[in-house]
Symmetry: C2
Subunit: 379 residues, 2 copies
């Protein structure tokens, strides 16, 4: 195990109908809030109205900031910061998926600095504080509700970049599995794939290979995730399956499973981001295509960990057999597993590779040849 520092101060309020406690939770942090959300669909489901009602009942003045995009834009964050300042708002409340939560974190941190918040992402500038953030995830996927990470995009430069700040941990996250009961099948599957990717990237790609506690926790979480995926495939309305899925996705990226693992290469995210940039396919779909290919490739030179995964998680002998079974599982769930299913052909590979090399200098640990080789295995 490597040396590490771990601290995750997020308060999780987990349970059926807990969204009704939003007003109480926010009012302990401040008497006014910016309500950040994405699509207008939270209005048709009634959630928007219930949140406003809860805030009003707790004496919290609220201003709306809807319209967060699936790839959340820094320009929209800047507008949010302007609203916070103009209306002197105390808390930033996110209701939505990872994009919405990430945008809320950037607004909360950006409101405390006198420079442009995009510098958090491009120049590694870090806020000295942040307004308190409350999140209410409506999707089980990113784990943003229990970490200090944010990923934003800039439509001018075309860049999509991440940041971390200890000030960006939500103060409170309300995890209400009922809100995820109506998530459509495709998004549910994308969330499962995304959660798996958050466990597998540090598991396979973390610098530390001798980490039995982290290995076993990660393997346990992967096993639980697959069990939950099968349960939800049979009945998307299974509250308990939705609850398991929400908690698994939250734990996956809260840091406890990765602590001591050392930095990971996040090669699958690197490739998936570039495929997403060129196709507009969902993040989870891109990951489902990339991961089996990357695993096949990486296991050629470092088979031990992939053998271990095959045996302990998939229940078969041999790294490549494990990868094939994983690919079949993704496919059975309804995820795409080839570039072709995303509308891409072999001749598109140079264009994807070019985007990768522009986003991550040299293509990270894979190198230019590795990037191309993995993409070919994803055809």
């Amino acid at each position: 195990m490597q040396d590490f520092i771990y601290r995750n101060p997020v308060q999780i309020i987990f349970g059926r109908g807990k969204a009704a406690e939003t007003g109480d939770a926010v009012s302990k942090l401040g008497k006014s809030a910016l309500l950040v959300f994405g699509k207008e669909s939270i209005k048709s489901t009634g959630l928007y109205g219930r949140i406003h009602q809860s805030l009003a009942a707790a004496g919290v003045r609220a201003a709306d900031h809807g319209g967060v995009k699936p790839n959340p834009l820094i320009s929209h964050v800047r507008e949010g910061i302007a609203k916070v300042r103009a209306e002197k708002l105390a808390v930033v409340l996110a209701v939505g998926g990872g994009s919405t939560m990430d945008a809320a974190k950037a607004i909360a941190a950006g409101a405390t600095v006198d420079y442009d918040p995009w510098l958090f992402f491009t120049e590694g500038k870090r806020p000295g504080g942040a307004l308190p953030v409350v999140t209410i995830p409506t999707l089980a996927a990113t784990g943003s509700e229990m970490n200090g990470n944010a990923v934003l995009a800039d439509s001018v430069s075309g860049l999509k970049l991440g940041m971390f700040s200890p000030h960006c941990y939500p103060a409170v996250s309300i995890l209400d599995p009922e809100l995820t009961l109506t998530v459509p099948k495709e998004q549910t599957v994308n969330g499962i794939v995304d959660t798996f990717s958050h466990i597998m990237e540090p598991y396979f790609g973390g610098r530390e290979t001798d980490a039995p506690v982290q290995d076993r926790l990660a393997e346990g979480l992967m096993l639980a995730l697959f069990e939950t995926a099968n349960r939800l495939a049979q009945n998307p309305q299974d509250y308990r399956g939705r609850a398991d899925m929400l908690w698994a996705s939250t734990v996956a990226l809260c840091g406890i499973v990765q602590a001591g693992r050392g930095p990971a290469g996040w090669e699958n995210h690197m490739l998936a981001h570039s495929i997403g940039a060129l196709t507009d396919a969902a993040h989870g779909a891109c990951l489902a295509v990339v991961m089996p290919g990357w695993m096949s490739y990486a296991s050629l030179t470092k088979p031990e960990k992939f053998d271990q995964f095959a045996e302990r998680v998939i229940g078969v002998k041999g790294a490549q057999n494990g990868v094939v079974q994983l690919k079949m599982l993704f496919s059975q769930l309804g995820a795409p597993v080839t570039l072709g299913q995303l509308g891409l052909k072999e001749q598109d590979i140079p264009r994807i590779a070019d985007n990768v090399l522009k986003s991550v200098p040299g293509g990270g640990s894979l190198g230019p040849a590795g990037v191309e080789a993995v993409l070919k295995l994803c055809l």
Copy 2:
């Protein structure tokens, strides 16, 4: 999964030689500290001197409060509170095992109230705050370094009782595996058994049976614990094994594995406490004797979970086979697995049962007949 609230704000500083950072960590919280410790052995190992040196270098004034007993006494806590008040100390620093950390928490909370701190334990009174606590565990066992629990004893009434307060989470815990390299074999094994008990009590005894994420995390941690136990049995000087053991014991009781599981009966701890009270045997030794007996008994009426444990953790079919293998494992590690090995005979059982029923009204979920039946299975 049941509804839950989870928040664990402890900062973990984990790594080789990190005890040298004590002064820095404490000085961020206050410029004076009560140094709580147990035996004088921390002086002969040089740790005491190094801690004082680190505190002095960081400008922290320190007062000693040694002599914490293995069953930490409330009278000693009262003396610690008096020292904190007389010397106007800002931080409580614990260097030692679970007893020392628990005493430090009670001192830190007790210093903020105007009533006797034993009322936290007997009457459920709760502090509104606490001085910041810093812990440096020298043993891997209790997990006290990452939770808000404390267990204390009163020599007048003979009671040993627990409390929890969100104010009792350490602000910082420094986990330096090097400090545990010299832990003798017997204490190392007790720590392994104790850690296993913290995972298994909620796993088997938690009210919620449909909790696949919690199950898989617990099973993963148990598997890692057994691997680590074997590694340390071969070489107690294996730094990496010690690091894995320390992190496993910390994660076991930090709450993330149990969240959503609902309350557990903690039957094994109930029985082990009474055996310990009558024999002075170490807590881990009492647990090693009790757990296989309780598991055999409980699996008679509720075999499913014990079948699952046998298959997933031990790798055999059938609940009772799993229990036998666990007993053999404990025995191989050097732990006692029968009451006889603790010097107790069948005729002592009524006396133990009597103590149990006095400590936990009715013997908890077991009932008087169950208490006696389990104890007989431990002969």
